[in-house]
């Protein structure tokens, strides 16, 4: 069995406890307007071009079998077949293929390379995209990792069938569960999807006693006012002790440019320091451990 991923990040120190290796699975059911990993949204393989790295050598133009590259960075994506030849020859790594398959053995070797550094709570995190769209593969891998004594975490947006959670639950030490809004209309505006299933799955995990850390992005202009609703909802879940508040930032636009996509809307911004601290204090006052 193979998994479909777009990146493996070593020495990840903010994707759960300790030092971790994070695997980014490709494909996501949400379309969050602020998505910071646009290369993880679709299941299909994509080509990224990073202008800042290009040395304008023209090698890619010569190698393209369908003439999709007219000049460095000018890619006709409607005829590009994602064959990857331009990526293979690009000397500067300005071109990159987003998406590749890995076997269980390949991935296991890769994520256990730094096993010695997983002491003190570290381990492996499955993220994305949405890793649980490939729940069967994830479950097999997580089981294998647990058997090898490695701590596991699943970073999920929650919009998958409950059976996906059931499949991974026995082998997952921590769920990093993303929560964007409680109000369905706000949620739909932010992510393009309804949140009923997301909230149901979070409640399910709580009820079965999963170890949960809820991750809340705070984006002014979109979901900032939702924090009170989220606080009230989370208070009703007795297993949720820790929340992680992420302040919006705009350091991801270059990824959209690289994919040839239009930039996300410009009406998003970060909460002010005061707004952020007030929210943090409110969660703390209600007994949550707040990470930032």
């Amino acid at each position: 069995m193979t998994g479909w991923i777009f990146d493996i990040k070593h020495f990840a120190v903010h994707d759960g406890e300790g030092i971790r290796t994070t695997v980014f699975f490709k494909g996501c059911p949400l379309r969050c307007v602020w998505c910071h990993n646009p290369e993880g949204l679709t299941r299909k393989k994509q080509l990224s071009f990073f202008l800042v790295k290009c040395i304008v050598c023209g090698t890619c133009i010569k190698q393209c079998p369908v003439g999709a590259i007219s000049s460095p960075g000018q890619i006709n994506r409607s005829i590009c077949t994602n064959c990857g030849r331009c990526v293979d020859v690009c000397p500067a790594s300005a071109l990159a293929e987003q998406g590749y398959s890995v076997t269980e053995d390949e991935l296991f070797i890769k994520v256990t390379e730094e096993k010695d550094f997983y002491d003190d709570g570290g381990g492996v995190t499955f993220s994305g995209g949405e890793c649980l769209l490939q729940a069967e593969f994830c479950a097999k891998m997580l089981k294998r990792l647990k058997k090898a004594g490695i701590n596991t975490a699943v970073d999920t947006c929650g919009l998958v069938e409950q059976k996906a959670f059931e499949a991974v639950l026995p082998f997952t030490d921590t769920f990093l569960y993303d929560l964007k809004a409680i109000d369905p209309e706000v949620h739909k505006r932010c992510t393009g999807a309804d949140n009923a299933l997301i909230l149901n799955n979070l409640t399910y995990l709580n009820n079965v006693g999963a170890n949960l850390e809820v991750v809340i992005p705070l984006v002014k202009g979109y979901n900032l006012d939702e924090w009170v609703n989220m606080l009230v909802f989370l208070k009703s879940l007795d297993r949720v002790k820790t929340v992680k508040l992420l302040k919006y930032h705009g350091f991801y636009f270059s990824k959209y440019e690289a994919l040839g996509w239009k930039a996300p809307p410009a009406d998003m911004s970060a909460p002010t320091e005061k707004e952020f601290n007030d929210i943090k204090e409110s969660f703390t006052a209600e007994g949550f451990i707040v990470k930032t």
Partner: protein, 721 residues
Amino acid sequence: MKPFQQTSKLPLSFFSVAGEKTHDELISRARTAGQNFQGEKVTVQYSALVSEVMENCSVLIAKGDPFISMTDGAGVLSEFSAERRKKLELSDEESDAYKTRLRKGQRACAFQGHEDFGHTCPDFERILSVGISGIVKEAESLLKEQKSVEKKEFYQSVIRVWKSARSLALRMAQAGEKENDENLSVAAENLRFLADNPPKTFMQALQLIALYYELQQNIEDTPVRSLGKLDRLLYPYYCHDMEKSNKKEEDIEEEFSYFLRHIDSYKACANIPFALCETRKALPCENALTLILLRVTLRCRFSNIKIHLNYRADISDEVMLAAGDAIRSGSNSLVFINSDITRRALEKIGIQREDAEDFNIVGCYEPCSREEIPCSCAGRLNFLKAVELAVNGGKDLLTGDSYATDTPDCEAITSFDELMDIVRMQLRAFAEGCIESAKEREKVQIYLHASPLLSATYRTSFYGGKDVYADYGAKYNNTSVCGMGIASAVDSLYAIKELIFNRKRMSLSDFVDILRKNWEGEEALRIYIKNRLPKYGNNVRKVDEIAENLVEYTANLINGKPNARGGVFRFALFSVDTRFVLGERTAASADGRLCGEPLSKNAGASSCADKSGLAAHMLSVLSYDHTCFPDGMVLDATLHSSTVSGEDGLKALNTAVITYLKKGGFALHINVLDAELLRKAQKNPELYSNLQVRLCGWNVLFSSLSRRDQDEFIAQAEAAQ
């Protein structure tokens, strides 16, 4: 004493008092004193010179400073030594042989070397326990027992300089008394006491350390490269003050802050290091002073002070977290040293366990066991040049000079294994040349330098009646050879293996032509190699095994080979600043490096080649046995402060450090970056292509961000300062 305040961190302004002679007069008098003893043994000459300077130098003091130790005596002895060296080198046949061999090695840029009368850590424990007068009394007593002229001369020399040290302490006291300054009065009172007694209080112990530093480092011109384990050295005096004087920890912190400011004022070359934490297994790792001294030093952030933090498995979380927290706040002054690995490395070259485990790091990363004179940097060996000569028929690509003979032409090399054999042949020739030239140098060393001050602190030397330099009087007299540019060499060899022997993209001779032309017209190939081929520092086994092979092979060529002083050679893996000099004279290399660019730094990856995170970098460096380096080694890793921010970041940093050391890492230094560095990275992205920043919940490469994103990040980093 006035309280130490933030403003007290401003540089001290020293002025000269109590001196009767100008500096030129001092040099002239010293020269005359030296002439009066011409024909005498160097120990006698040195003691006369040192004594002359101590008796006549001016004392330098600064208002508000509760320590007095500086003089204008620095430079007098070094001038004398230089003259002496010149004479010897011109007249001595052995010295000529040395020069011939060394020049040949240097011309081929295979290795460099010079003599070293520094890199010492005096036995401060002994100095503090017996004091100046105690050493004089002991020497006088031993002098009476001696029959041999040489030993008599030794003790007379010791007595001469240590008596002069007493006079100087009293002159310093007078200088302090003359000023109407509360703090200088403290120094004066302590110096008067120390002239005739060993220290009793914390301040007196610090004053004696500062005074001795000046005497040996500046007046005698025998560099002191560690103040020793200060928590251990100062603990009895701390206990005394806490019990007898009712002092509080804040008082101790204040006194130590003043000491650091005073020592920092020396602005010594390559900083003034001291160590914290016990290295001897039978004793507790820490005491009550450890954390106090660590916190004060990290809080004060004096630029000229550095700490060697000795790691043991039983070190406390508090110490490790305090160190980690300071590092991530940008403090670059702290290096972690692995006590167990260091001890084992020293034992491998024949140092007895009880001496090996009581080491101090002297200078950069070189351990010095108890009773050892290590003579650092006697040889510096260029790994990358060995590759250059191996692929070019034994000839330097820039000059055509050769070093090793019988090197086949590159057309004759048909496999990577054959190439590795030839690289090893070059390294063997380099190592032998390095060792032989150092030995030739050592034969004349006994005529060049003596240290009656240092010799009185080493028990073997003092009770044996022998100078540590002029008579090789220390228990261990070892010599160091340092390997440089390991990552540059490994990355070059892997590139050749992959492109020439695996993919057969071109012939080796065609590739060597490209290197000869410094990649002219082949920029795309150069960038391809730099960006696309695996590099050392990323935990890629097929690359790291080349490093393992070269490093352990070379270490076996060096370690334990006898030197000319009754000791052995010891191997190191760090690059000092020689990587720039060697780089300037090393042709373009197969790793994509341009002609003249520096070699890789220390034991770490080539510049910006470590793109897989800190753990992968560490695992690459751990691919070989660090007990191969009795002369030390270090991994220098670079992180951005955002990578280690928050509680998660601090915890991860500590886990990484501890894991590296537990897995056998010798020494570790971590740089955390600031806004200024980010600006440089923006201007020259190719130099900082491995720089990571934390965006929100994760890190990305700074170079992959758009200009606008980079600007925003710089603005945030500035705001955070």
